[in-house]
């Protein structure tokens, strides 16, 4: 059988196809790189804005426990006159501190009386009662805090649950502990 060599035109056609495909791939890669860049740019803008808005978040997270301690101090009851007077002074200073923090975007909130919402509350324990509707927040261990309208510390609450039969109170407690450990 006579084998014919590839003619120049055929070779050119093949080369052309090959280059055409390469060019297409390059173009697609280029578009992809552009798209990646665009996404990256937008994401960085968001992050920078976020960072700017929430620059104080770490500081506030550390201050919140201190605020809570002041709160505790001021709820102590049955104090004598002198203590009462000191309490008053501390109260003024405490409110002053809170208003400074409010200026910087920190806001306190309470969930007592509302339906439990995990977006704003963290359940610490529950009370079995049929007096309140199920999943209502009946008490709080600490308030919640918003920073620039974002929840940075959920309120720690106690929730109402309908009375259930529990065979072993001890078991319930240990389940909760294990849950906290595992979850």
């Amino acid at each position: 059988m006579i084998r014919l060599k590839k003619g120049p035109v055929t070779q050119l056609k093949e080369d052309f196809e090959k280059l055409k495909n390469e060019s297409k791939t390059h173009y697609e890669n280029y578009l992809r790189a552009l798209a990646d860049f665009e996404n990256f740019r937008r994401r960085k803008e968001r992050e920078i804005e976020d960072f700017r808005m929430f620059a104080n978040e770490n500081l506030l997270n550390e201050i919140i426990p201190v605020l809570e301690n002041f709160d505790r101090a001021l709820t102590v009851k049955d104090v004598d006159e002198k203590c009462e007077s000191i309490k008053k002074g501390v109260d003024i200073a405490y409110r002053q501190l809170k208003s400074v923090l409010e200026k910087f975007g920190l806001k306190e909130f309470s969930c007592v009386g509302q339906e439990f919402d995990p977006k704003t509350c963290e359940a610490i324990s529950f009370i079995e009662t049929n007096d309140k509707p199920k999943n209502t927040v009946v008490d709080e261990l600490s308030k919640g805090y918003l920073y620039q309208n974002r929840v940075i510390r959920p309120a720690r609450v106690i929730v109402a649950k309908p009375s259930l039969q529990h065979t072993d109170n001890q078991q319930e407690k240990s389940i909760s502990n294990e849950q906290e450990k595992g979850a």
Binding site: R32, E122, N135, I175, E180
Partner: protein, 633 residues
């Protein structure tokens, strides 16, 4: 082709990461957390992660955590685990362990899929693109059915699982250990609730697991409990009250314990402050303030840390190795941040463990690296070079003005506009330099060319755009273009021949060593150039408006000019600054006059507009050239 994400699907926490051009990025969830609790809650709405955890206490039967313990397992195998959890585990028709919540049953893969879906959505929302593929990690001791269950979970979540890789392998990848040959690696993973030790060997790019061991119920939480117990003890000693009965106090103490534990990883001592921790009828409010030192903490948890060595020894025995045989040690899991843990591991293996990557995230990072390789990213993408040393031109005074900073990714293009130094200057020399020193003469000459035909004009008026363009092959093109005549001249310089890493390092070190003196030289030249500009403009103004001011004022200005000209011959920068200021002061009278004239005429101010700026850049040429400092696109 979308990005492939790497997922660490953990027992208590999960983490997702992705590679972007060689850099691992840990993706935060909508709540901003870089790790997500592996918890799913069923109820009015389905919750995953932090939100699910927040309601776990009031919804224990329907909050599923640690589902990983049931993945790929038969109901008969897991009786030990089912006792520890408040949600219901049932036997499926095929014998598998399933969970039952709200009357419906779910397979563990289905529950894990909910977590994976949550992570997938987080990634999509963070990256702004659809994600369909992932690499997921599993413990090295997972058997086939456990691995298959994980793969199924991915599928249910809408992810094509390109590969399931072992967690210790992922950690090794994160530290680049896949580049090593025939090395033995020990991965020490101490997390929140579990301890795992794995012995691997790397050879020919493949990881082989020799042995695994551990303690499925030992972790950082146990450390917290030790501190808690100590606090309760101390309080009991002082006040005779057992605070463990008080839920509120216990909660505060638990949080304070965890916080103190974390702080003691970086400081030697911390204070645990819990005022008003308890209220007693007679005594009133009681407070707790304790100092906890790192040494005391180490005493409290020492035995826990020591207990990890048992499984480590057993794993080594199974692998038929001794601690000395191990070439690399990796730390994984948040609790390995504790200095005592690091010390114990270091002493045991007689080598420094790898710990630079966030131990909570290292497995996800490794998964992301594997994901990138499988996505073909490493193959397809062109690895871009950087220009190793700065590039620029010589400007007035013999300084080098950088146009492209070193380590700029190429290809790249940068332009800067320069101008002439003398009146009626018709040509500029572009002297192309490479290096980090301030003075042109201390850098390497790459090339030199001239641009002629610049129309005659006062100095500072012509605009000459100099462009540096490095193409994908690393070839540098330098162009100088006169913006008025559009005349241009250029030069092509091929990639730096014979510049090896040592040359580059030396150039950078030299620049550092001489930076102070270089800086001083440059500052002096900048001052001198500024002085020159001030003299030029003042002389010009004097010519135009000199007759409008008194002879006395004129003489003051001329004297100041001459004094400055003298100082310019020397090298005293502070003298230059001083005399410049004196001249500018003397010039005030003249300036006043000029303004009066302008207001009368309503004409444009040409002279004051050309106030010299600091850091003015100049192109040194056969003729002096000045720069206006404006960058053109």
């Amino acid at each position: 082709m979308s990005k492939v994400i790497g997922i660490d699907l953990g027992t208590t926490f999960s983490c997702v990461a992705v590679m972007e051009r060689g850099q691992p990025i840990v993706i935060p969830n909508p709540e901003g957390g870089r790790i997500t609790p592996s918890v799913v809650a069923f109820g009015k709405e389905r919750l995953v992660g932090t939100l699910a955890k927040r309601q776990s206490i009031i919804n224990p039967e329907h909050t599923v955590f640690s589902i990983k313990r049931f993945m790929g397992r038969k109901y008969s195998e897991v009786s030990g685990e089912t006792k520890r959890i408040p949600y219901k585990v049932v036997e499926a028709p095929n014998g598998d362990a399933w969970v039952e919540v709200e009357g419906k049953t779910y397979s563990p893969p289905e529950v894990s899929a909910m977590i994976l879906q949550f992570l997938k959505k987080s990634a999509e929302s963070y990256l702004g693109e659809a994600i369909t593929k992932a690499v997921i990690t599993v413990p090295a001791y997972f058997n086939d059915s456990q691995r298959q269950a994980t793969k199924d979970a991915g599928k249910i979540a809408g992810l094509e699982v390109l590969r399931i890789i072992n967690e210790p392998t992922a950690a090794s990848l994160a530290y680049g250990l896949d580049k090593k040959k025939n090395e033995k690696i020990a991965v020490y993973d101490l997390g929140g609730g579990t301890f795992d030790i794995s012995v691997l060997e790397i050879g020919e790019g493949l990881f082989e697991v020799h042995s695994t061991n551990g303690n499925t119920h030992l972790g950082g939480d146990d450390f917290d409990t030790r501190i808690m117990d100590w606090i309760l003890d101390e309080f009991k000693k002082e006040h005779g009250i057992d605070l463990s009965k008080d839920r509120t106090a216990l909660q505060r103490i638990r949080e304070a314990s965890e916080k103190a534990k974390c702080e003691l990883s970086t400081v030697m001592e911390t204070t645990i402050s819990l005022p008003f921790i308890y209220s007693e009828a007679k005594k009133g409010p009681l407070h707790l303030e304790l100092r906890l030192s790192r040494a005391k903490l180490e005493a409290l948890v020492g035995d826990l840390i020591q207990s990890t060595l048992g499984p480590v020894k057993r794993a080594l025995e199974d692998a038929k190795m001794t601690p000395k045989d191990i070439d690399e040690v990796i730390l994984v899991g948040g609790q390995t941040r504790t200095p005592k843990v690091q010390e114990t591991v270091r002493e045991f293996f007689s080598k420094e463990p790898h710990k630079g990557i966030n131990p909570d995230e290292v497995v996800a990072v490794g998964a992301a690296i594997q994901a990138a390789v499988l996505a073909g990213e490493v193959k397809d993408v062109v690895l871009l070079d950087v220009t190793p040393l700065s590039l620029g031109i010589e400007t007035l005074g013999g300084v080098m003005t950088k146009i492209i900073e070193r380590n700029t990714t190429i290809p790249t293009r940068k332009s800067q506009t320069f101008t002439t130094a003398e009146d009626n200057q018709n040509a500029v020399t572009v002297h192309v330099l490479q290096g980090e020193r301030e003075m042109a003469i201390d850098n390497r000459t790459l090339g030199r060319f001239e641009l002629y035909g610049i129309p005659s004009a006062p100095r500072g008026i012509p605009q000459i755009e100099v462009t540096f363009n490095i193409d994908a092959d690393g070839i540098l093109h330098v162009t100088a273009k006169d913006m008025a005549t559009k005349k241009e001249q250029s030069i092509k310089i091929t990639a730096s021949s014979g510049l090896n890493k040592d040359d580059i390092d030396r150039a950078v070190k030299d620049a550092d060593a001489h930076s102070a003196e270089d800086r001083a030289k440059r500052d002096l030249i900048d001052s001198r150039n500024r002085a020159d500009t001030v003299v030029y403009h003042t002389e010009k103004s004097l010519k135009e408006y000199g007759d409008k001011i008194s002879e006395n004022d004129k003489k003051n200005i001329e004297d100041a000019i001459n004094k400055l000209k003298e100082t310019m011959k020397g090298n005293d920068k502070s003298a230059l600054e001083r005399d410049m200021e004196a001249l500018q002061k003397a010039n005030h009278k003249l300036a006043e006059e000029m303004y009066k004239q302008t207001q009368a005429k309503g004409g444009e101010q040409t002279t004051t507009k050309e106030e010299p700026k600091t850091g003015e850049k100049k192109v040194d040429a056969d003729y002096q050239v000045y720069d206006e400092g404006e960058e053109k696109k």
